[in-house]
C-alpha cells in the first residue's frame, strides 16, 4: 500500500468559522509527518478529524484503505497523545496504560505483561503504581505515549505533546520520540507550532496556514526551498523583498531595486501577481573591502548584535529596506554600526516565490 492515511478535500467549520478549507494529504506507512502551523491554523482540528473526535463537513479520510468518515474514535486503528496528556487522574499509571487493552478485553495476565513491556519502553518501570499527579511533566508525557502505543495502532497522533515541557526537556524528548518511532516503525503524525521542533524530528512537514496546507516536503526542502511567502517567513528567519517578474526574465537573475541580483524561480507556475525574493540571513554575505562579486547591494551597517555562535548584522540598504545577515562569530571581519558595506548572496540562495 502507498498510503496509510489519505485525506481528500476535507473541510470543517465550527459555526461561522471555516477552520479546515479543503485539505489533501497522503501519509506513507512508517513516516514521521509533522503538521506545522501557527495557532488557529486548523492543525489540531485536522488531527482530531483523523482521530474521529470531529466529523468532516465534506471530503473523505482513509485509514489503511478504509474510509473512516462515520466511524467513531473507539473503532479507529489510531491512537492519540494529547496536548496535556489527558491521563486518567483517578487511575494508577498501570491502569492508565492497561486501559486500551481492557477495552479490547485482553486477559488480565497478558495485560500485565504488556504494561510492563510498555513501561520499559518508556523507561518508567518503577512508576506503575503511582498516580499521574505524582509524576513530573516529562514522565507524564511518557506515560501518555506508552498508553497510546499499547494497542499497537497503525498510526500515532501527537497533539503538541511537548508543549508543556521546558526547553531542555523538550529537546531531549524530541530525540526520544524520534528514536521510538524509528524503532517501532509506526506512522507518527505530529502537530506542533514550533518550527525548530518540526525541522528536528520530521521525515516530512506539512505547513498549514489559515486552514490550508501550503507545502508538504522534507525539512531540508521546506527550509531551503519554501514554496510560498508564508512558508519562507514562518520557518526560520528570512529576508523578504517584493519583486517584479518580467516575462523576459533571464534565468537566475531578478531585478531588485533596479539592480540585477541572483535568484532562482522555484517553480514558474507557483508565481503570483505579487512575488517575493527570499534570502536566508545566514546565506547573506558581507563583502570585504576590495572583494569582488557578480552582484551586490550597498548599504550602511545599522546594528551589530552578538548572539553567541552567530553575529547578527542589520544593514540598511541604499534603497531604504533592511537586510539581515547572520555570520559565524569567528568571522574574519567585524563591522561596526555606521560602516558602509556591500552585501551579496549566491544565485541558488535567492529564492523567488509567490504569495
Amino acid at each position: 500500500m502507498d498510503y496509510i492515511i489519505k485525506i481528500e478535500n476535507v473541510e470543517k467549520s465550527f459555526g461561522n468559522e471555516h477552520i479546515v478549507k479543503g485539505i489533501n494529504l497522503d501519509i506513507k506507512p512508517g513516516e514521521f509527518l509533522t503538521v506545522l502551523g501557527p495557532s488557529g491554523c486548523g492543525k489540531t482540528t485536522t488531527l482530531r478529524l483523523i482521530a474521529g473526535f470531529e466529523d468532516p463537513d465534506a471530503g473523505e479520510i482513509w485509514i489503511d484503505g478504509k474510509s473512516v468518515s462515520r466511524i467513531p474514535p473507539y473503532k479507529r486503528d489510531v491512537n492519540t497523545v494529547f496536548q496535556n496528556y489527558a491521563l486518567f487522574p483517578h487511575m494508577t499509571i498501570n491502569e492508565n496504560i492497561a486501559y486500551g487493552l481492557k477495552m479490547k478485553k485482553v486477559s488480565k495476565s497478558e495485560r500485565l505483561a504488556r504494561v510492563i513491556e510498555a513501561l520499559r519502553l518508556v523507561q518508567l518501570e518503577s512508576f506503575g503504581d503511582r498516580k499521574p499527579r505524582q509524576l513530573s511533566g516529562g514522565q507524564q508525557q511518557r506515560v501518555a505515549v506508552a498508553r497510546a502505543l499499547i494497542n499497537n495502532p497503525k498510526v500515532l497522533l501527537l497533539d503538541e505533546p511537548l508543549g508543556a515541557l521546558d526547553l531542555k526537556l523538550r529537546k531531549q524528548m524530541q530525540i526520544e520520540l524520534k528514536h521510538l518511532q524509528q524503532k517501532l516503525e509506526i506512522t507518527f503524525i505530529y502537530v506542533t507550532h514550533d518550527q525548530e521542533e518540526a525541522l528536528t524530528i520530521s521525515d516530512r512537514i506539512a505547513v498549514m496556514n489559515k486552514g490550508v496546507i501550503e507545502q508538504v516536503a522534507s525539512p531540508k526542502e521546506i527550509y531551503e526551498s519554501p514554496s510560498t511567502k508564508f512558508v519562507a517567513d514562518f520557518i526560520g528567519d528570512t529576508n523578504l523583498f517584493e519583486i517584479q517578474i518580467s516575462p523576459t526574465n533571464e534565468t537566475n537573475v531578478v531585478n531588485l531595486f533596479g539592480t540585477k541580483v541572483g535568484g532562482r524561480i522555484r517553480e514558474p507556475k507557483s508565481l503570483t501577481k505579487q512575488n517575493y525574493l527570499s534570502v536566508r540571513p545566514e546565506r547573506v554575505k558581507l563583502l570585504a573591502h576590495g572583494e569582488e562579486a557578480p552582484y551586490f547591494l550597498s548599504g550602511t551597517v545599522e546594528e551589530v548584535i552578538y548572539v553567541g555562535s552567530f553575529i547578527r548584522t542589520v544593514v540598511k540598504l541604499q534603497q531604504g529596506q533592511r537586510i539581515v545577515a547572520m555570520m559565524p562569530s569567528k568571522g574574519d571581519h567585524l563591522c561596526l554600526p555606521g560602516d558602509r558595506v556591500r552585501v551579496t548572496w549566491k544565485e541558488e540562495d535567492g529564492i523567488v516565490i509567490g504569495q
Partner: protein, 310 residues
C-alpha cells in the same frame, strides 16, 4: 445571579467550538426525563398560578371567569400594595445590614487570616445550610418576653419588667432575617474577593496608593459583582420569607408572603393569593434580570475570560 450557567467556558482547545443546533439522540435521552418532570410539576404549577390570578371567588368557591379584579384590588388596596412596599423596605434594610456585616468579615478572612483560612470560611458558611427554622427560632429565645435579652437586662438592672418591643416588632424581623441571610452574602463576597489576584493590591501600593485608596480604587470595584450577587440573594429571599415574620413579628410586621399565606389559608381567596404570587414572581424575575446585568457590567474578570476564549 451567581447561579448563572448560560455560558459554559471551555478551554480545552481554541480550535474546538461546538455550536450545532441539532437534537442528537444522546441529547434527547438525557433531556427528556427531566424535561417531562419539570413541565408537569414545575411549569404547569406556575402556569396554573398565572391562570388562577385572573379568576375570582364567590361565596368560597372559585369562579372560572376572566377578570382583572384581583390585580385592580392589589394595586388600589393599601393592605396589599402597602404591605408590598413595606416588604420591599424591610428586605432593603436586611440587604444593607447583611452587606455591612458580611464585607468586613469576608475581607478579614480573605486578606488577614493566614492560618486555617479554609476552616474559617467553612465555619462562616455552615449556617447557610443549617436549618432555617432553627435559626429563626433561636431569635425567639433571645428576644422573647421571657427571653434571654429581657432577663439579662432585668438582672443587670437596666429595666425592671420585660419589654415587648424586642419580639413582635419589625426590628425582630429585620434582625432575624439579617442573621439568616448574611451567610449568603458572605459567601458571595468572599468568593469575589478570593478571585482578586494578590499582586493587584501590591501593584496599587507600589504605584503609591495608600490602604484606603487601594481599597476604594481596586478591591471594592473588583468585588462589586460579588456584592451585587449576594445582595440580590438576600433581598429576594428576605422578600419571600413568611415564616420568620410569623414567628417573630407582630401583626404590624406581616410581609407580602404572609398575605399570600393567609389568602391560601384562612382567608381562602386563592385567586387573589395567586395574583400576589404572580406580582411577586414578576418582581423577583425583574430584580434578578436587572442585578444580573449590573453584575455583568461591573465584572472585570469575565470580560478577560471571554476575550481569551475567542
Amino acid at each position: 445571579m451567581s447561579v448563572n450557567i448560560s455560558t459554559p467556558v471551555r478551554n480545552t482547545s481554541i480550535e474546538k467550538k461546538k455550536k450545532k443546533h441539532r437534537f442528537k439522540p444522546r441529547l434527547l435521552i438525557l433531556l427528556i426525563p427531566p424535561l417531562i418532570w419539570l413541565s408537569v410539576f414545575l411549569f404547569t404549577p406556575y402556569v396554573a398560578l398565572f391562570l388562577n390570578s385572573f379568576w375570582r371567588v364567590d361565596f368560597g368557591t372559585i369562579v372560572h371567569t376572566f377578570t382583572w379584579d384581583n390585580y385592580i384590588k392589589f394595586f388600589t388596596n393599601d393592605l396589599y400594595y402597602g404591605t408590598l412596599l413595606k416588604t420591599l423596605k424591610i428586605a432593603s434594610l436586611v440587604t444593607i445590614f447583611s452587606v455591612l456585616l458580611s464585607y468586613p468579615l469576608a475581607y478579614f478572612i480573605n486578606f488577614k487570616v493566614k492560618k486555617n483560612k479554609q476552616l474559617m470560611y467553612t465555619l462562616v458558611i455552615i449556617p447557610l445550610w443549617v436549618s432555617y427554622l432553627v435559626r429563626a427560632y433561636a431569635w425567639k429565645i433571645v428576644l422573647g418576653q421571657d427571653g434571654i435579652l429581657n432577663s439579662l437586662l432585668i438582672s443587670i438592672g437596666i429595666i425592671d419588667k420585660p419589654l415587648e418591643v424586642f419580639l413582635y416588632s419589625p426590628y425582630a424581623v429585620v434582625i432575624a432575617l439579617t442573621h439568616i441571610y448574611t451567610p449568603w452574602v458572605l459567601m458571595s463576597i468572599y468568593t469575589s474577593l478570593e478571585h482578586i489576584p494578590r499582586n493587584l493590591q501590591e501593584a496599587s501600593k507600589d504605584l503609591g496608593a495608600g490602604r484606603f485608596r487601594t481599597f476604594f480604587q481596586v478591591i471594592l470595584p473588583l468585588s462589586l459583582p460579588g456584592v451585587i450577587a449576594g445582595a440580590t440573594f438576600a433581598f429576594v429571599l428576605a422578600m419571600g420569607d413568611f415564616l420568620a415574620p410569623q414567628l417573630l413579628g407582630g401583626t404590624s410586621s406581616m410581609l407580602i408572603s404572609n398575605v399570600v399565606y393567609s389568602l391560601f389559608g384562612v382567608a381562602n381567596n386563592w385567586p387573589l393569593g395567586s395574583t400576589i404570587g404572580i406580582v411577586t414572581l414578576v418582581l423577583v424575575l425583574l430584580i434578578l434580570e436587572v442585578t444580573h446585568r449590573l453584575e455583568k457590567r461591573t465584572s472585570s474578570f469575565e470580560n478577560v475570560k471571554e476575550q481569551k476564549g475567542r
